[in-house]
Symmetry: C2
Subunit: 407 residues, 2 copies
């Protein structure tokens, strides 16, 4: 059976971004690339081109079903015209795969933004699940054995959260790094069953939200800023303004309902300079995805207070490599000072005793220009050195945090 | 019989802009205001509120007919979805009219950009025609008498053009300042009949293009830059980039076919700094609408040459207060050096011996901010003094030309 069996088995943000792309940028050419940051693991060795293509070909056969479209319609965020477009969606285009023995897996998806945007989380889910199947086989384990440890750890997490951070609002964000679809499904079921009402507020996975009657949660990803930067970045001025244009376009399409802004694409120093007072008032909050979360939270509180906005009316969604310790620490610090929620990924859906991989699928090129990301963590920068330097200059980036020194 | 009898009795650019607005900015609130620059003429005296409202109410009854929509469909520039939206167009909203005795006429149209965008040229056509009816009545003339002089002058224009500027490409641009619809119709008929093939290339009036089998011609107006500047102009950076964003959005929607850029909204100095080399290559040309046209033409030639682009592959559309002398002078200077065409307005459709009015309908407010225009001619600046100064600073505007000194 294929790993991905529905076009809803992805993060909601892929569909919310897809709607914006459909309306405003359907034809913009983009190139996505799979990047394994865990360099020590040679994925070309662990996963064969053939089995990967079997999975991606199965995904390419998928269409949005009437039942799925009806469900999306109930969410109140998709226009009828977009759902009609999804109904006519002809499936994902092929991906290019090179699997080198003793080396990395190379995967690229190329095409118009509208055609290929859904590949990101699906490729990650598939690579992860294939990798862990291989790991289990290598160790002579079966999935059942691994789940024993998984349950033990998950139950420990749930217990600790209830005891140590009872006010925390948890969102399951682990689609891309999940051990397997079945395990993610089980994690969601457990959280729903065990966490007190109000502590588990939803999942980013649309299929699991549908299945478990949860709220699917998500807004947008780095790729939105990155592609806009490519598209309008012929000049430094266009590059500089492209970031705020994302926020304009997003708010125009979704209004307050999905107004949580990702803050670190070109560094959060820039983000806080760039967000206007009107936007600070209008937007519900911010998502923190790299750098020091405590420092970010303090800064968000100060940012709102300086504008005379009560931080408690706003929200920070923490989503960078969370574990229970981080959730507890952040919730203790910020509860009652600013709204918080926790988009919990890898450590939630892939904590069964096997080391998780750090991998991403990123836009590397759009509208004929190389894509760049400047993270709040230096190691997360993406892009050719020359363009990275240009972006640093244009966005006034003064270096990411060194986590070792700051904690 | 009402003056305006069809929603196609307007400049094409209203519909091409409307399509962009429909897709990207439908809900943006705007305020249009009628402005009579001929201050000596007290229009509140010449035109009664009652007769003006009779005309605007007649316009409000108009809908796009099946025949008109089918015609628009043949032009190859409107999406089916937009034509469907036009089919459902519920008519124009009411305008506010104050007619003060011994003073000006005050007219405003307020609403979402999509709803009110068509008012501009229609209001101008109506005010003009009512005014000239009144002028004729005051002088005890009838329209037939006025037309005798009109024909004499028009035939003289045609003769001179054929003799003195046989390479000139003429476009009729006089809808907004026409003496009357009937006279504009007659002018178009005469030009089509008398000018040699290739000299009369079309009209901006969609209804007359349809009637006479001509090409309707137009791209966009100052309002596009002005509303974008309001919408993205909370910050200086947003303001600065809003101009290029118009060009991005326009090119994305229409590609090369309608890629003639209006150049003077914030001064053409800025325009030439702002247009990128890629845009200079992609766009077919430029429209000159204020300042010194000879200087502008020379500058356009130099601009393209510096980029290694053959100016003869590009075009300047001159559209600022042309008469035969200007056409002859410009054509002599630029023929064979850069493509040219002449969008000829007031002096073409309102030259029957009665002094024409200089009046406009301009956006004065959008997205909650006052609108500003910086023309290449100082007297044409629009907006509150403080915002005009801000725009001058942001766009590096160094003062318009003093026509008296430069000619």
């Amino acid at each position: 059976m294929a790993i991905i069996r529905s076009l809803l088995d992805l993060d909601l943000y892929k569909l919310t971004m897809m709607q914006l792309v459909w309306l405003l940028h359907a034809g913009t050419p983009v190139r996505y690339r799979f990047i394994n940051r865990t360099k020590g693991v040679k994925l070309g060795e662990a996963i064969s081109r053939k089995e990967l293509l079997r999975e991606t070909n199965a995904i390419r056969e998928l269409r949005f079903t009437a039942d799925e479209l009806a469900y999306l319609g109930t969410l109140g965020i998709f226009k009828d015209e977009f759902l009609t477009a999804l109904e006519a969606f002809k499936g994902l285009p092929p991906v290019k795969v090179v699997a080198k023995k003793d080396d990395q897996l190379e995967i690229e998806a190329v095409g118009s933004w509208y055609e290929v945007i859904l590949w990101e989380t699906m490729l990650l889910s598939v690579v992860n699940e294939l990798y862990y199947r291989k790991m289990l086989a290598t160790r002579g384990m079966d999935a059942k054995e691994a789940r024993v440890e998984g349950y033990r750890r998950l139950e420990d997490k749930i217990r600790r959260l209830i005891l140590e951070a009872p006010s925390a609002k948890i969102i399951e964000f682990g689609t891309r790094r999940r051990f397997s679809f079945e395990w993610q499904d089980e994690v969601v079921r457990m959280l729903e069953e065990r966490l007190p009402s109000g502590m588990f507020i939803g999942t980013s996975n649309v299929l699991l939200a549908k299945k478990h009657g949860l709220r699917p949660i998500g807004t947008f990803a780095h790729e939105l800023y990155m592609v806009y930067a490519c598209k309008y970045g012929e000049t430094d001025e266009g590059l500089r303004f492209s970031h705020n244009l994302v926020m304009h376009d997003w708010f125009e399409m979704y209004g307050e309902s999905l107004s949580i802004a990702l803050t670190d694409t070109f560094g959060s120093d820039f983000f806080f300079r760039d967000m206007t007072p009107a936007q600070a008032v209008q937007w519900r909050g911010l998502r923190q995805d790299s750098g020091d979360p405590l420092e970010f939270g303090e800064r968000a509180v100060a940012f709102y207070e300086e504008l005379g906005i009560d931080p408690r009316s706003k929200k920070v969604v923490f989503s960078d490599g969370l574990d229970v310790d981080a959730v507890v620490k952040l919730e203790k610090r910020f509860h009652g000072r600013i709204g918080t929620s926790y988009g919990w990924g890898t450590n939630l859906t892939n904590d069964l005793g096997l080391e998780p991989l750090s991998m991403v699928v990123k836009v590397v090129e759009a509208a004929g220009r190389p894509a760049v990301k400047l993270s709040d963590t230096v190691g997360k920068h993406l892009g050719p050195a020359e363009e990275v330097e240009r972006y640093k200059r244009v966005f006034g980036y003064s270096g990411g945090l060194d986590l070792e020194c700051r904690y």
